[in-house]
């Protein structure tokens, strides 16, 4: 076999290509910078593989169409940025409640409101967590390179199919627009997970009866199961049941299917943490600067390590708890005013001091800034 040649690729393109590799067959969206390339590429590529693209009238409709498509058995996705994410939130809640797999990409830009459409940000970390109404679990992933965007997009589809849940992919303007050389894996080497399908006859099928892993099997429309889907609190039959007992059961089960399987969901990388006395906790773009900074500081003999979560939600609480017992201080560089810092504090408790390094000017956090911060807090 010939060695694969590296190709120059943009982050948004890697996202679209990753989605195709994962088996996406439906995209509905509404244009917004800095995410539009994902829609543009998929409008070109999807019909070639028998998939379908549609540009909807707004993001509310896009999210709705994605859920409708997923119910027919298609792997479906949408892509947007902060303002569009706010509109998608309504039906994101629906996807969570009705347990419909789908992937939502948020290429973050400076906000609130129209903010800075071409400037990167990590301002939607909490919107990803709590943007929709009600107590719901969510999975959100934040890659930090073009190559990883490709891989993590595939992972996002796999997790959404595996757990019948919406998965948010958090990119930022820099990751989305930067170009890097990548070598893509062969399709055969990629692990693809598809939703579990019922094998019983229609009379015996309960669309919301979980298996042992907490995840119910999912039929597709048009297969003869003739099942009902609603956003109302429902029992295993899929029909409304608003009793306090059932309501409590449903909301808790939605959370449990994620929590119980957290090991399959959490992706966290650690660098130089073995003997670290100080830690940097960073994700997305700032984690790149943070890794260079940590390497530089190490060269100068500073015992600092890096924790880099790719899975942002559910939050890697155990990793932080463990680290906090080892290090005295945790620096959290973010392109926001400390959204994930609060979570780090929540789990570090009094074991380690948590210090923010924040930029909201639409500029990247530089390695030097992280080095300076490391030295400042030493």
């Amino acid at each position: 076999m010939s060695e694969k040649k590296p190709i120059l690729m943009q982050g948004n393109e890697a996202c679209a290509k990753g989605a195709l590799a994962a088996g996406v067959r439906f995209f509905a969206g509404y244009p917004i910078t800095p995410s539009s390339e994902i829609a543009e590429i998929l409008s070109e590529e999807l019909p070639k593989v028998g998939g379908r693209f549609i540009q909807m009238e707004d993001e509310i409709a896009s999210m709705a169409a994605v859920i409708g498509a997923s119910l027919t058995g298609s792997k479906a996705m949408t892509a947007t940025s902060g303002p569009g994410m706010s509109l998608k939130s309504e039906n994101l809640g629906y996807a969570s409640m009705a347990e419909v797999p789908c992937v939502i990409v948020d290429v973050q830009r400076v906000g609130p409101s129209t903010g800075g459409p071409t400037a990167p940000s990590q301002g939607d970390i909490m919107q990803a967590r709590w943007g929709t109404h009600g107590d719901h679990p969510i999975i959100a992933l934040a890659p930090n390179s073009v190559k990883e965007t490709y891989e993590v997009t595939i992972k996002a589809f796999n997790l959404s199919e595996r757990f019948r849940t919406p998965v948010i992919l958090l990119l930022d303007e820099v990751i989305g627009h930067m170009r890097e050389k990548v070598v893509l894996p062969d399709q055969e080497s990629i692990e693809i997970i598809n939703r579990k399908k019922p094998t019983v006859p229609p009379e015996e099928y309960f669309p919301y009866e979980p298996d042992e892993d907490g995840v119910p099997k999912m039929a597709s429309y048009g297969e003869g199961y003739r099942f009902h889907v609603t956003g109302l609190t429902h029992d295993k039959t899929g029909f409304p049941n608003l009793s306090p007992g059932n309501t409590d059961y449903v909301i808790r089960r939605l959370h449990e299917k994620i929590e119980k399987n957290i090991d399959e969901i959490l992706m966290v990388e650690e660098y130089f943490m073995d003997d670290a006395e100080l830690a940097v906790f960073a994700y997305g773009s700032p984690s790149r600067s943070s890794l260079s900074a940590v390497r530089k500081a190490r060269e100068e003999g500073i015992k600092v390590g890096l924790i880099r979560p790719i899975t942002i939600w559910p939050f890697p609480a155990e990793t932080v708890k463990k680290a906090a017992q080892k290090v005295s201080k945790i620096i959290v560089p973010e392109m926001n005013l400390g959204q994930l810092l609060g979570e780090v504090e929540r789990y570090a408790k009094s074991d380690a001091e948590v210090i923010g390094l924040n930029r909201v000017d639409g500029e990247l956090i530089t390695p030097q800034e992280v080095v300076d911060k490391i030295k400042e807090v030493l």
Binding site: G50, R52, M56, G73
Partner: protein, 274 residues
């Protein structure tokens, strides 16, 4: 009737939640009879709704059913139809659901001429939330949020659908179910976007407040205040004043959205093989 019940209804979900005298049940009956008349395959038919008393209808129907968020039925339905065009897709929606919060989705579904049949249960009010005015509440009527009389102007939702690009548009009443079943059947048969507005009644939160009498009185009102479009052709403007036109209001053919998209797929796949 028994045969229809067995074939198309989830009998274990009955009785329904609607108030005694509500017109929504009659509308649902007409929808099911139209489905039967056209002979749709129940396995290949998906019924989608939004939120409202009317939108609870799919729950009683033995099809794949999707009860979505308020106003978004057509957007969900667009995803279903586009992803799996072989499915027959029927949307059941209310006047608030389709004309207020879902108004944008309605005009764009019509514009695309996507093959979805929309049956709009127009009871002139937000029934489920207790009687607030909707974009189809006539001017002057009372609602819980229009205690001094509604000063809004109502849409002519059929004209709006025609202007937006729907290829089959009709209006019927629950008073005349024979006509209504015919109109819905033709809507289903139309290969494109169809809207059938059904004038129905909410005796509980609209009729009572507006002193319109019993459910039977409200159906009589429908009879007395509607004129068939054919008959209307021979009537003067004076005679037609205040009357609501019923019957087939518009019918046309235009390329259907998902068919057009399928052509693109076929072309690209042929090119790919070459």
């Amino acid at each position: 009737m028994q045969e229809l019940l067995d074939k198309y209804f989830r009998k274990d979900k009955l009785p329904h939640i609607w108030c005694p005298g509500c017109g929504h049940g009659i509308t649902l009956g007409a929808v099911v009879r139209a489905i039967d008349k056209v002979g749709l395959d129940p396995i290949k038919t998906t019924v989608v709704s939004g939120i409202g008393c009317s939108s609870r209808a799919p729950g009683y129907m033995k099809f794949d059913t999707l009860h979505t968020t308020h106003g978004r039925a057509l957007a969900f339905a667009t995803g279903v139809k586009h992803a799996k065009p072989e499915l027959n897709v029927i949307v059941l929606t209310g006047d608030g659901d389709a004309a207020a919060i879902g108004g944008n989705h309605l005009i764009h579904a019509a514009r695309r001429n996507i093959d979805i049949t929309t049956v709009l249960f127009n009871n002139s009010i937000y029934g489920m939330t207790g009687g607030q005015y909707s974009p189809l509440t006539p001017t002057g009527k009372l609602a819980t949020t229009a205690p001094y009389g509604n000063i809004d102007q109502a849409f002519d939702i059929c004209k709006l659908a025609i202007a937006a690009g729907a290829t089959y548009v009709a209006r019927g009443t629950v008073y005349n179910t024979t006509q209504l079943i015919g109109l819905i059947s033709k809507g289903i048969q139309n290969k494109g976007f169809s809207l059938i507005e059904v004038i129905t009644h909410c005796p509980t939160v609209y009729g009572r407040r507006n002193k319109m009498g019993t459910a039977v009185d409200m159906m009589k009102w429908q009879k007395e205040n509607t004129v068939n479009v054919k008959a209307a052709e021979k009537m003067t403007e004076e005679q037609l004043k205040g009357k609501i036109l019923v019957g087939e209001l518009y019918s046309d053919t235009r390329p259907e959205y998902t068919e057009q998209y399928t052509k693109i797929i076929e072309r690209l796949q042929k090119e790919g093989q070459q």
